[in-house]
Amino acid sequence: MKKLSTPGRISTVIVIGCIITLAFFPMWRIDLAAPQYPEGIMMEIWVNDVKGDVDIINGLNHYIGMKSIHKEDFKEFVYLPIALSVFCVLGIIVLLVRRKSWYYAWTGVFLAMAGLSMYDFWKWEYDYGHNLDPTAPIKVPGMAYQPPLIGYKKMLNFEALSQPDIGGWFFILAGAILVGVSIYEWKKSKIV
């Protein structure tokens, strides 16, 4: 049986729904805390924007010579919405074609996109954390300020916590569904 099962078809709709939430919720968030910021400061990464206390963070980062974070510098904010839209359109095609192989391929596209995004995110963080202005007022020998890709890290007086936000969790959910359903479809085809 090469035909996609009904649960598989339902999952396609759910996955598309999950991806659409990214238009309304941030993907990722980085929280910072320091003694003089008891309320914490935060940055949200959306598919097409960076929001939160970006100006405050830029103000602090200039002491260590980190480049300012500007939305305009990220071409990802243009490509990512397009890529996700294309992914949703592909999902509709999967729904219409109703072939397991198409569903597997669609999952593959998702995983590639997710992997690439994480790598890209890490690359940006590395760039911001390491390429510091040599004339910065505060220079601590050997110190880099790359925030964690995911998880907790202490940098000078700041603690940073990086994790998925609502949109990100829905994205992860979409991935979990895609992988889970693929396995489900694969096993079902073997049984039969």
Partner: protein
């Protein structure tokens, strides 16, 4: 207490568990909804949270700061008012505000800088300046201990030093500092109050000369000066004994040596890069700036030997006399200057990492702590090693002709990884130092001898100065350390964008520092001084003797009251005593007259000031102490009847302590007449 990391691990474990479920469960679809729900629930709670800062008040903190009603605090602390320009007085350990002493800013509350008597206190070569930025304080010392005579205060913006009398808690003297760009490195004091120091924070061209702001011009024309202000040990009167002219750089803070290092003064510097723009970056480039060490005893010898040059200049010296109750200004026209390139071997430089701020001398006088604002360590210099290095000429070079001692030759040792952003250090007299850290917002206690870190406590938030009562003397009291913070954020009920500044009191009696109390302060507190209350309280002036009042416009009793006119100047000789003003009916004043109300408080009892205010006077009120005379100037702009009254609730019939001034149109023939208690006062011919 779960750390954020632990929180994260928990989250990660949850996610992992879910993933395992997804992959392994046979009846996957049934469980998909559960997985989805748990993921969404996680998303809805915004995942993991950062830990929040919390204050750690523990144990018997409350009882340690409780001073029962009617009981006195153990210490007076004098706290700089920062941009308020004033000095505040707090009782410690209660943290109760006792008084705000007006120093460099006008104070409408009591008429300082508004009444005719105190206007001269704020006069400068650039006219009347109603405000300043007050940063540091120094109590007078004898044998390296606080003696309770005077308190000195700096004006950071328009360079001045003030002297506050600790019998009356009033500003008695303000001395302008010539050839200074901003008096930050001030008013630190020698162990017998020989000198109060005034070092410029901004290098500027000497003699108020104009010059280009380019970097070449800075290097060629800009200089830094240190003024040694001599203090008359009887009267307290200040005068600039001499100025040392240094290469252009920014003098930040300073301390006099004591004990073995008595006779020396130490200054921290930044911007030895000599940048004139974007100092944030350009003055942070060198790995080391300098501690400037000046042998002032040797400088004195040069001055005595006639080596100092007279320089024509101009500066104001304003003094308040407690018998005339009036301040007068004197303009001084010259200053003696010493050039270390001409008179050699009394100025030396010691390299100190990364724009040092604090430059603090320990109670023994042997150790000098430099706090590089941007450094990852605290260097501690040894006075003995410095003098040995000078004797052996262990120099690494010269800076504009001034010998630079080798860093290692002067170094006692370094405190490693103490914290971030070290600023200031105070001492407890038991061999321990307490350093404030702005960036990591904490106080770190360390041992001077072996440079080991002993304890650290958070401050809320971003501490600037800190103060141990007596902590800058030979004998610190070693009981408390007080943090003066720059940010309060969530510590108090919010009051809009502008929040209270704060102080925090810690006990340092035990091995570990213990937070006891938070209290808000006026303005922005910088440095402070603390002294045992017993050293001051018994010398307190309660009243001014009316019989010694030599004010030119005093009314010695109600019978002496009168109103006189010379041209358009009207002088009202008025008295105040519970519960009436004499005269309280005044007629014959015309629009445009300059009316001077000279109010003498006839009371001779403690805590009975009288206030005086006139409707629509474009001036402040007067607050007149018992036995004192103060003058309010009023130029009426419109004719009419102007009520005046006592503003200080003085007695049961305080509300009745009021009167009227009749102002007639200009040119009216209304005769001058006055009185109290007569329904129709006799007219007197105008002079």
């Amino acid at each position: 207490m779960l750390k954020p990391g632990a929180f994260w691990n928990l989250c990660a474990t949850m996610t992992e568990l879910n993933n395992i479920k997804i992959i392994t469960h046979k009846y996957f679809m049934k469980n998909l909804s559960i997985v989805a729900l748990s993921l969404v629930a996680l998303a809805a709670t915004q995942g993991c949270k950062m830990k929040s800062t919390e204050s750690a008040v523990s144990g018997d903190a409350a009882s340690k700061v409780y001073v029962a009603p009617g009981k006195y605090d153990e210490f007076y602390t004098f706290v700089s008012g920062g941009f308020s320009g004033q000095v505040s007085v707090y009782g410690i350990p209660s943290g109760r505000l006792l008084k705000v002493i007006p120093v460099f800013s006008q104070n409408p509350e009591n008429g300082y800088g508004y009444n005719e008597e105190t206007k001269p206190m704020l006069q400068t070569t650039h006219g009347f300046i109603p405000w300043d930025d007050q940063h540091h304080l120094a109590l007078s010392q004898t044998n390296g201990e606080h003696d309770g005579r005077w308190l000195f205060a700096n004006a950071n913006n328009s360079p001045r030093v003030a002297r506050i009398d600790l019998k009356s808690f009033t500003t008695e003297e303000v001395l302008e500092i010539p050839n200074s760009g901003g008096n930050h490195s001030s008013p630190f004091i020698t162990e017998n109050t020989e000198y109060v120091i005034a070092g410029t924070r901004f290098a500027i061209p000497i003699g108020n000369a104009e010059a280009s702001l380019s970097n070449e011009s800075f290097k060629a024309n800009f200089k830094s000066t240190v003024s040694f202000i001599g203090v008359n040990q009887e009267s307290g009167h200040m005068g600039i004994s001499f100025q040392v002219i240094l290469p252009g750089m920014d003098l930040d803070l300073s301390r006099a040596g004591k004990g073995p290092s008595h006779g020396w003064f130490f200054f921290s510097t930044y911007n030895t890069e000599q940048a004139s723009t974007l100092l944030e970056v350009n003055a942070s480039q060198k790995d080391k700036d300098f501690i400037v060490a000046i042998n002032w005893k040797k400088a004195e010898e040069y001055v005595k030997a006639g080596k100092a040059k007279k320089m024509a200049t101009e500066y104001y010296h304003n003094t308040l006399n407690h018998e005339t109750h009036m301040a007068t200004s004197e303009i001084i026209k010259e200053v003696l200057t010493l050039d270390p390139n001409e008179s050699k071997d009394f100025v030396y430089l010691i390299p100190c990492p990364k724009s040092p701020h604090g430059c603090d001398v320990d109670p023994t006088g042997e150790y000098i702590v430099g706090s590089g604002k941007l450094a990852a360590l605290i260097p501690v210099f040894s006075f003995k090693k410095i003098t040995d290095a000078i004797a052996a000429k262990t120099f690494e070079g010269e800076y504009y002709g001034i010998p630079v001692i080798k860093y290692e030759a002067a170094l006692h040792g370094e405190v490693k990884k103490p914290g971030l952003g070290p600023l200031h250090t105070e001492f407890d007299g038991k061999g321990n130092a307490y350093t404030s850290f702005f960036v990591s917002s904490e106080i770190v206690k360390w041992s001077i001898k072996d440079l080991k870190i002993l304890d650290r406590v958070p401050t809320y938030y971003s501490i600037g100065h800190l103060m141990v009562p007596g902590g800058d003397t030979k004998k610190p009291y070693g009981k408390y350390v007080i943090a003066y913070n720059k940010i309060t954020k969530d510590r108090y009920l919010p009051t809009g964008p502008e929040l209270a500044q704060s102080a925090q009191l810690y006990s340092i009696e035990g091995d570990k520092m213990q937070l006891l109390l938070d209290f808000p302060t006026i303005g922005e507190p910088h440095y402070a001084q603390g002294i045992l209350a017993s050293k001051i309280k018994d010398q307190n002036v309660k009243i001014y003797d009316i019989n010694k009042n030599k004010h030119p416009y005093v009314s010695m009793g109600e019978k002496a009251t009168k109103v006189t006119r010379v041209g358009n100047r009207v002088d009202v000789y008025m008295t105040a005593i519970r519960s009436h003003l004499t005269p309280d009916n005044i007629e014959g004043v015309q629009v445009g007259d300059e009316v001077y109300f000279h109010v003498t408080n006839l009371e001779q009892d403690w805590d009975v000031p009288h206030g005086f205010a006139v409707k629509h006077a474009d001036n402040a009120e007067l607050l007149v102490m018992p036995g004192e005379t103060a003058t309010l100037k009023f130029v009426p702009k419109k004719s009419g009847v102007y009520p005046f009254y006592c503003t200080d609730f003085c007695s049961a019939l305080h509300q009745e302590m009021q009167g009227y001034l009749r102002v007639s149109p200009k040119g009216t023939a209304t005769p001058l007449k006055w009185g109290t208690g007569k329904t129709d006062p006799e007219p007197v011919a105008a002079k």
